[in-house]
Structures are given as C-alpha cells and as structure tokens.
C-alpha cells in the first residue's frame, strides 16, 4: 500500500524532479566548463590563491538551487492535494493517517535526497579532477547548509500547504520558515558551518514532522 502512495507521489512530481535534475546538470556543466576554461587559458595558481585566501566560491551557482528544488517538489506534491481539499481522499485511504502523510513526505524527501546526492557526486568527481581533496572537504562543508535548506524548506513548505488556516497561520509559518532558512544562509566565504552544521541538521530534522500538526489541524477542520 505504501508502494501505491509512492506511485501517486511519483506521478505528481516526476516532471518537476526531471526539471530540477536538468537545472542541476546545467549548473554542473557551467561550473565544469568555467574551471576547465581557467585552467586552459590562464594561470590556475592565481585562481587557486583566490579560492583559498579570498574565499571566492566557484560553485556559488549552487547556492539557491536546492532551496528552489525543495519549494518546487513541495508545490507539485502538495498543491494538488490541497486544491479542492483533495487531501481528504488521501486521508480516507485505509491506513493510519499519520503514516499516510509521513509516507508522502518521506517520498518527497527521498526524491530530493537522491537528486542532491547525484549532484554532489557529480561535483565531487569534478572537484577531484581539478583540485586536491582538501577542496572537496571545503565544498561539502560549505554546501551542506544549502542542501539542508533545500530539505528544510521542503518540509516547511509542505506543512504550510497543508495548513488550513490561510493568512494568519500560513503567514506565520512562512515568516518562521524565512527566519530559519536565513540562518542557514548567514555565511560568508567557505566552511562557515564547520562547527555547527550538526546542530542545524538536528533542528531541521525535527521540522520534518511539522506537517503532522498542519494535518491534525486540517483534519479538525480549523477554518
């Protein structure tokens, strides 16, 4: 039965997921071409020096893409559910309501994670081609909050979609989301979250169940 829920979610988001993957691949190609251009046509030692000591980021195109991906997946997954209160159909399925919702969220999360891991793998291969492994570590630490922001906004946006009380409640959830997500982007240079990413990871994980409260409110019919 959970396979069937996965099937339904997949039907909703497959084109969106494909679009996101294409966007990520385009960013990857752009970054790889830029690096190879620099190595071919100029002095890569000056470039390395900039990256290490001026903290400029060659992968900054990646910065907001995971965030966008999270919002898009959440939209394609949950907008059909709340338009015309279609979520009632899902909640009527002969399963525990919490596990229905959590399975839907788990499916979106897995999709996002798969896309993120795929793109991280691509960048890893590229970075190891151009730079020593120390650069890879810095890349992973620096982009970790961005990818985490993508997952977090997915969880938050989903609970915002399901929340039945427009304006007041949704607006507040949106404000909280913006406030929290901005913390993940409060960085300059690289490796900013080296000592704290685990804390933010923990907080974000907890946010993944926030949709349960929205669902409970949806079910109670708070309008």
């Amino acid at each position: 039965m959970f396979k069937a829920i996965g099937y339904k979610e997949w039907l909703k988001i497959r084109w969106a997921a494909l679009g996101i993957i294409i966007a990520f691949i385009l960013v990857f190609i752009n970054t790889a071409l830029t690096l190879s251009y620099i190595v071919r046509t100029s002095d890569p030692n000056l470039y390395w020096n900039n990256l290490i000591f001026r903290m400029s980021l060659y992968y900054s195109l990646l910065k907001y893409l995971p965030l966008l991906a999270g919002i898009i997946i959440s939209f394609f997954q949950f907008f059909p559910e709340i338009s015309e209160n279609r979520l009632k159909l899902a909640l009527h399925l002969p399963l525990n309501e919490k596990s229905i919702i959590l399975n839907m969220v788990a499916f979106g999360t897995t999709t996002l994670l798969a896309i993120f891991l795929f793109i991280i793998l691509l960048f890893t291969l590229m970075i190891l081609y151009f730079f020593p492994v120390e650069f890879l570590y810095s890349f992973l630490i620096t982009t970790a909050p961005w990818f985490l922001a993508g997952l977090t906004i997915y969880w938050l946006a989903s609970s915002i979609f399901v929340e039945p009380m427009w304006l007041f409640r949704r607006l507040f959830l949106i404000l909280i989301s913006i406030a929290y997500i901005s913390l993940l982007y409060a960085s300059k240079g690289y490796n900013n979250f080296e000592v704290s990413i685990h804390w933010f990871f923990l907080i974000s994980i907890f946010l993944s169940v926030s949709i349960l409260i929205s669902t409970a409110r949806f079910k109670k019919g708070v309008i």
Binding site: K3, Y7, L11, P80, E84, L89, H92, K219, I223
Partner: protein, 296 residues
Amino acid sequence: MEYAVECKNLTHYYGKRLIYENMSFNIKKGSIFGLLGKNGTGKTTTINILNGYLKPKSGQCLIFGEDSQKLSPQTKANVGFLMEGHIQYNFMNISQIEKFYAQFYPKWNNAPYWELMSLLKVLPEQKLSSMSCGQRSQVALGLILAQDPDLMILDDYSMGLDPGYRRLFIDYLTEYTKGRDKTIFITSHIIQDLEGFVDDIVILDYKNVLLSSTIDDFKNNFRRFRFILTNKSHQKIEKDATITNFEIIKNNIFIYSFSDINKVRTYLQSKNISVKDLEEIPMTLEDAFIGLTGKY
C-alpha cells in the same frame, strides 16, 4: 449491530454561525438514507464530520460503532466516499487511478469500473483533468463500486451533472445495492431524483432539521392549500406546528402543512383569519420540497 451510522446530538458552528444544534439520526444497515437541503444548510458539514475531517463543537458520530474522528483503517476500507464535485486525483489517467486504488482494498473488483469506463468511450490513457464533469463523476462512481464497501457516503452526487448522468448514477447504485446488505448515505438538493431510491430522509434548513421521515410519507402527508386574500388579517399568519410554511403571491395565499384541509381551515378560523375559497393544490415532489424548505 443494527446501525451503520449513528449521529448523536451534533452541534456545529463556523465561528459564530450556527449550522445546526443537537441533530441526531441513525442509518440502519442495508438502508439508503438521504440528507436533503438547500446549499449551505450543512450537508457537507455532516459528511465531513462523518468522515472525520471536521470535529463538531459537540456531539459524536459512530460509523460501524467507531468514533468517526478516529476511524480505524479496517473501517475506512469498508466506507466508500464520494467527494462533493466528484473530486478525484485528476493528475492520473483512468488506468493509473484504478491501479492506485486497487492496492488499498482487499475486496477490489475492477469489473464495474471498466464497465462504466467502456460506456464513456474514453481511452485508458485519458487523464482525469481532461474529462468533463459528467465523465469524472462516472470515474468516481466506478472507483467506489470497485471498492465494494458496505457503506457509501456520497456527497452531492448530482452536482454539475445533467439529468442523464444523474439517472445513470442512481441506476448503478440501485443495481449495486439490490439484494446486498449495502448502506448508502447520500446528500442532494434535488429530491425528485431520489424518489423510489432512498428509504429515509432528513431535510435540513439553516440552523435546524426540518423533517425526518421517508419520501413516501412526506409526499403523501405534505399538502399545499390556497385561498384568496380579502382583508389584512393574513398578517397574523406565522409559521407554527400547523403551518409549516406560507407564501403570498399577489392576493393568493399558499399554505404548506402536514394537516388536512379541514384542520387547516379550523386552525385558520381559530386565529380569526378570513379564509375565502380554500382549496388543496396538488404538488410534485419537487414542489413539496421547495414548499418545505422555502425558495430563499
């Protein structure tokens, strides 16, 4: 257990607006129950409470003995639900949606579904979003029939359907329940479609229940009378136990009542209302429904 659905003392408000107070009704297993009323009288509210999508301010509904706010998966599997407006997953095509629901219900039987689909002359790859309202209603109906539940909750099945589809819908349901122990809870604002189909009816008005009866009783006992206005004594006419409703059209006064002509005459005279040419005017079921619920 005798009842498929028991609702006790339901009271609900949206904000400060009262929907109804202390409404109770029971639906016997194997019977067909119609909840009627104009739009905005609380039909969908009742459905939402029954399915656990709304918590009433007070009161409780039991479905197969279970609190409707906390239905177990087994009970939900045994309840078919048609959403108002025949809402379904319109991002799926008709074969995907059958494949999807089939995995949830142990008694799934897709024969009636495909039978209905063949009548529609649509391809299995056709998406629900590209279908007409009437076609989608058949998809939704087909899915419920395939689910083969013991209780069907059908919210305003007639919404947006032309008479042919409405008839088709009821025909299929009649066929489905024939000789089987199936219970149907149906809401509608078109009473005449349900004639000969439903057993018990409840008619809702804003804020209260107008009638709890059967269609035959209602049809046989609810009457319309007309008399001519002669002076201003008609101002004393008001709704009460005898006069269920009244209308004044130019100098004709129409009285709706569950009493016979003699009782009405005596009653009007006892209130010193001058009655001239009092006569009973026959009604169709639709007239009776409108007479009871009012035009506004």
